[in-house]
């Protein structure tokens, strides 16, 4: 249709600008990034803010609430067959063999990171080292049609990594479940209220805690959104009864209540934002 009018009845969106070549990060090698990752704990991003939760008052909500900053010139590369775009001050550097993607320039967990553009999928999994050192934060969020469906937040402090999740499918804040696994077996289940977090600690209670892991996200057949973190190295969770159980995988799972729920079916984007300086993405799979 072609409105030939004084005032268009609706503005047309500007097309995306042409891609610019990536700038190499000054932070240098993977080794530096890794040493940062060996420091204790993670800082938590404030996931409940606009980036991962769409419960904003209208006067705080920008016209496109999920639009990251600095989109005048998208900086995107291909990795694992998927388009990855830098967000905020982040820079992307693919390895020569295509096996990994280094994401640098990460100083702000609400702004700096990478957006992974997906086809319509119900599952995404990545291997990498997105969990950072003490004092750093990770925010991972899934999006569908421009709306955040869910988010995972990992905040590191000395000796502990706090994991939490938010889900936007319910019409009101609901509890969610933390499912704990070790060697393939469920070793615990916890109910967490909105805003509550799951502390991951060193089973030896050491403060030099190197928690790192892979992450995944999927929407199950019932429509529940589920974040998974596969932990490498020593990791445990303190249960309410005082026991400490070793874990190598944690799932934060939405509980579909139906009452006023929104039926998410697929998602089409995953963002990872962090303040840890840099992280590396490796294998990525979708379904």
């Amino acid at each position: 249709m072609q409105p030939t009018s004084l005032v268009r009845l609706a503005p047309r969106l500007a097309p995306p600008a042409a891609r610019r070549p990536l700038a190499a990060s000054r932070l240098g090698s993977r080794a530096l990034a890794r040493s940062l990752g060996l420091a204790l704990g993670l800082g938590l991003a404030l996931a409940a803010l606009a980036a991962c939760h769409d419960e904003l008052a209208p006067d705080q909500e920008p016209a496109h609430p999920e639009r990251p900053a600095q989109l005048a010139a998208p900086r995107c590369v291909a990795h694992q067959g998927l388009t990855h775009c830098a967000l905020g001050a982040a820079t992307l550097t693919p390895s020569r063999d295509g096996a990994s993607l280094w994401v640098g320039g990460l100083g702000d967990a609400q702004r700096d990171g990478v957006a992974i553009l997906l086809p319509e999928v119900t599952r995404f999994a990545q291997t990498g080292d997105v969990l950072g050192p003490a004092g750093s934060s990770l925010l991972a969020r899934s999006m569908s049609d421009g709306v955040a469906t869910s988010s995972l937040v990992a905040q590191s402090r000395r000796g502990v990594v706090e994991l939490s999740a938010t889900f936007t499918g319910a019409s009101a804040p609901l509890d969610y479940q933390a499912r704990l696994y070790h060697l393939g077996a469920r070793v615990g289940t916890l109910q967490l209220g909105q805003g509550a977090s799951l502390p991951i600690v060193d089973p030896n209670e050491g403060e030099d805690f190197d928690a790192d892991g892979d992450s995944d996200f999927h929407i199950d057949p019932a429509g529940a959104c589920i974040w998974g973190v596969a932990l490498r190295g020593r990791a445990a969770v303190r249960l309410p009864d005082g026991r400490t159980v070793k874990v190598d995988r944690v799932e934060l799972a939405e509980q579909v209540s139906v009452r006023g729920s929104y039926p998410y079916l697929t998602f089409d984007r995953i963002d990872y934002l962090s303040s840890m300086g840099a992280f590396t993405l490796r294998a990525e799979t979708t379904r």
Binding site: Q2, P3, P16, A57, P119, D145, P263, T266
Partner: protein, 518 residues
Amino acid sequence: MSCAVSPLLAIDDLRDLRDLRGLSRRPSRAARALHVALALTLGLAACSEHRASRPTQSTTPEPGARERRAASQAVPAAGSRNAYGHALANLPLERWPEVRAGKALFSTSWVPRGHGDRERAERGPASLVREGLGPRFNATSCHGCHFKDGRGQPPRDPLRPARDRGQDEPTGAAPVLLRLGLIGPGGELLPEPTYGGQLQDRALRGLRPEGVLAWNLRLVVGQFADGTPFVLRAPVPRVDAPARGPLHPETRLSLRQPPSLIGLGLLEAVPAQALEALADPQDADGDGISGRVHWVRDPDTGLRVPGRFGWKASQPSLRLQNATALREDLGVTTSVFPDPPCAPGDADCLAVDAASGPELTDLELLQLTRYTRLLMPPAPRSGPLAELARGEAAFTALGCARCHHPRLRTGAGADLPELDEQELEPYSDLLLHDMGPQLADDRPDGDASGREWRTAPLWGLGLLHVVSGEVRLLHDGRAHSAQEAILWHGGEAQAARDAFLRASGADRAALLTFLDSL
């Protein structure tokens, strides 16, 4: 808040409206200068309306506020773009798979026959793709015009390069259709002989689209009693590049924007007797309002029933509304309408191989319809109590409630128990009303005249800009705010509109605050 009066507007008394007609594609230099001045003034007016109408919203209902809330409704997340897409709050868990199944059909992208595998491979392993689009169509999915169950298109993600797909790419422009028709010898509506009842402006490769929908803008300027000026715009549609020759010179054209989909199942469950009780076709009470039920024949039952859906309440049920939209807008057939939307004589369209059976099965139509029946209207939101109370009082005092009836109640014995005996706040009587010449499309539909329109429900009004990215009201989307929509009211609503014009700025602002809270 009022705007400085532009010297170019030369504001006159409202009874002497100026009708600036016929803006062409290439306006003169003087006209362009006037356009700029009017656009600037419009921008000021829109800005002031926006600030006046946006209440402070909290996510927690204040004690005592909005106590009348149906069990089917719950407070959605404030400011959520999902606000229109939540299932009824009293839905039992065992019905959740039905909602998801219907949502999947609603979100399905329809593609030409033979293209399904390729499209699935390109869109993703979980993509919802079905073959059967067209041959002629206006959209490729329900979702494409009713994004997030509202009345807009999906936004284009600025991170994604535009795909040159030709069929499915959101353009950023609001979706709108063009209905066509001629007046028959008995005053009945007949399809345009070459193009039928609706212009399908997209087509499968190898077919020419029927035409290009375009429009000029008609501007109307006026002022409130306190001197505050306003400018209204109405699209005057036309068809450019008609594929099979010009339209009949007496063709009636009517732009139609998609309605929002909230609370439709609840509206469907309001008993006919309740609507009859609200009707007063002879204006027996002398209040100037003569709303009437649009009686239509339900082809499923053969019975004469109230029409409820569509801008002129032409459709008696959601099932028929959905089946009609599938055929007319997507070219998808069902057992209700097993033939594609090819106008008589459209040889190219008729020559396209037809499917051996309906492209959407009866079960799937039931699932899709069930989904649209189970969408929850968002509950009113809290705000400054005094302002809301003043606005609600103005809503009644100015006469708005005579047609935008605040409350309805569903009947008992619905096939879906969630719809049974629910108190609703739709702010609509679902009746036809003469809205005057300014809103007339002169295209009758069934028993509805060219000046009559069904009272639009107002629930969810304040979240429309969040869900759909902008506010577009009235049948052709001409009104970009509730204030503009009020100013277009005429006919039976003339008195209410005039009262609004005479109201103080504070009362007008309070009314808009109240409407924004719905």
